[in-house]
Subunit: 208 residues, 2 copies
């Protein structure tokens, strides 16, 4: 496919549309197979873009694209989770909705639609400091969002911090187990555990 790219109707190099297609291709490929297994050629094929477009949009090449992909995918997943939270009638129902949504997405996608950054996070943690920082920033943003919503629900600051860590930890661990086993049982079980933790923490905060 690649050699025909120059003759397709691709938008001019460097346009926002091409950049968006490159990022979207990165999100999809990194989520399914990780960073190292994804070659530049495959990104260009999925994005229907030319080599020159990639280096025009991302002069730093694959690593620069990857950092944008991690931050973009992390922000999109956070927005999705925050919408689920805001649409639920209380924090316990919100927690259940987030894990049930993750379980349903895993099942509907053949266990490919999972955490958009976990594979990259594990691949780069010991080998690529700029990309590790990008994954750390995403997790910290998720934790901050969870903390602020839990604090708004009446939890003490220390409780909100621990509980947000517990929820994100359960979600990430369940993505690993559910993808490996091709079963949403770990994700649904993690959702029950997370909901019980939220219920208990709200009970403690009410009894103060």
């Amino acid at each position: 496919m690649a050699p025909s790219k120059g003759t397709t109707g691709e938008a001019p190099a460097g346009t926002a549309a091409t950049r968006d297609r490159l990022v979207a291709a990165g999100v999809e490929l990194f989520r399914r197979q990780g960073l190292a297994a994804t070659g530049i050629k495959q990104i260009l094929e999925v994005a229907d873009a030319r080599f020159s477009s990639l280096y025009h949009a991302f002069p730093g090449g694959k690593d620069e694209l990857a950092a944008v992909v991690v931050r973009t995918a992390g922000a999109a997943y956070q927005q999705h989770v925050e919408a689920a939270w805001d649409g639920a009638r209380n924090p316990v129902a919100a927690t259940r909705a987030i894990f049930e949504g993750a379980a349903a997405a895993l099942e509907a996608s053949g266990y490919a639609d999972a955490c958009p950054i976990a594979t990259v996070a594990l691949e780069v943690a010991s080998t690529n400091e700029p990309l590790r920082l990008a994954t750390a920033e995403v997790f910290e943003a998720w934790l901050a969002a969870a903390r602020s919503r839990l604090a708004a629900a009446g939890l003490r600051r220390a409780d909100a911090r621990k509980l947000s860590l517990g929820i994100v930890t359960l979600l990430e661990g369940a993505f690993v187990l559910s993808r490996a086993s091709r079963s949403a049982e770990a994700m649904r079980c993690a959702g029950e555990t997370a909901a019980a933790l939220v219920t208990a923490a709200l009970g403690r905060s009410t009894r103060r």
Copy 2:
């Protein structure tokens, strides 16, 4: 380094010692950087082995080695965790010891010594079915070991299954967060949560 391999004192191709060095190199490299980022050449360098040794020991090449690495590393970590469990005075102390051990290993290794198979598990889940099955078997063996110990401690079968899933999920999620953030906070917090879950489940089983 590689060109000099043929003249070093490497043991004859195909011996058990060479095979062990290849597997040990795979364990270390896959844990730090994953499967796709690890080239055959790097495995041979770390193992101080020749190309011919690799294909003598593993005719299926990198994928065959990777499956053995996943199963070997998974069994070794299970043995390590079971020893910690058996050395503790009760299931709650055992749970604390496992997570504290993981936190200490992360800190001592600059956040490299983590789950030996999680990176590979996420990389291959949607792309390499034989390797996915190897990672799924490892997680299932860990869960079975946890279930049998929790059942021996008096938990009902259904409770033991859910709790073992909860513990392994928290451990795996905390490896992701702790490696990304270069902080053992997520692992220690997961340990507190896991210990609380074990305490609560034992309380329920005692009240029956």
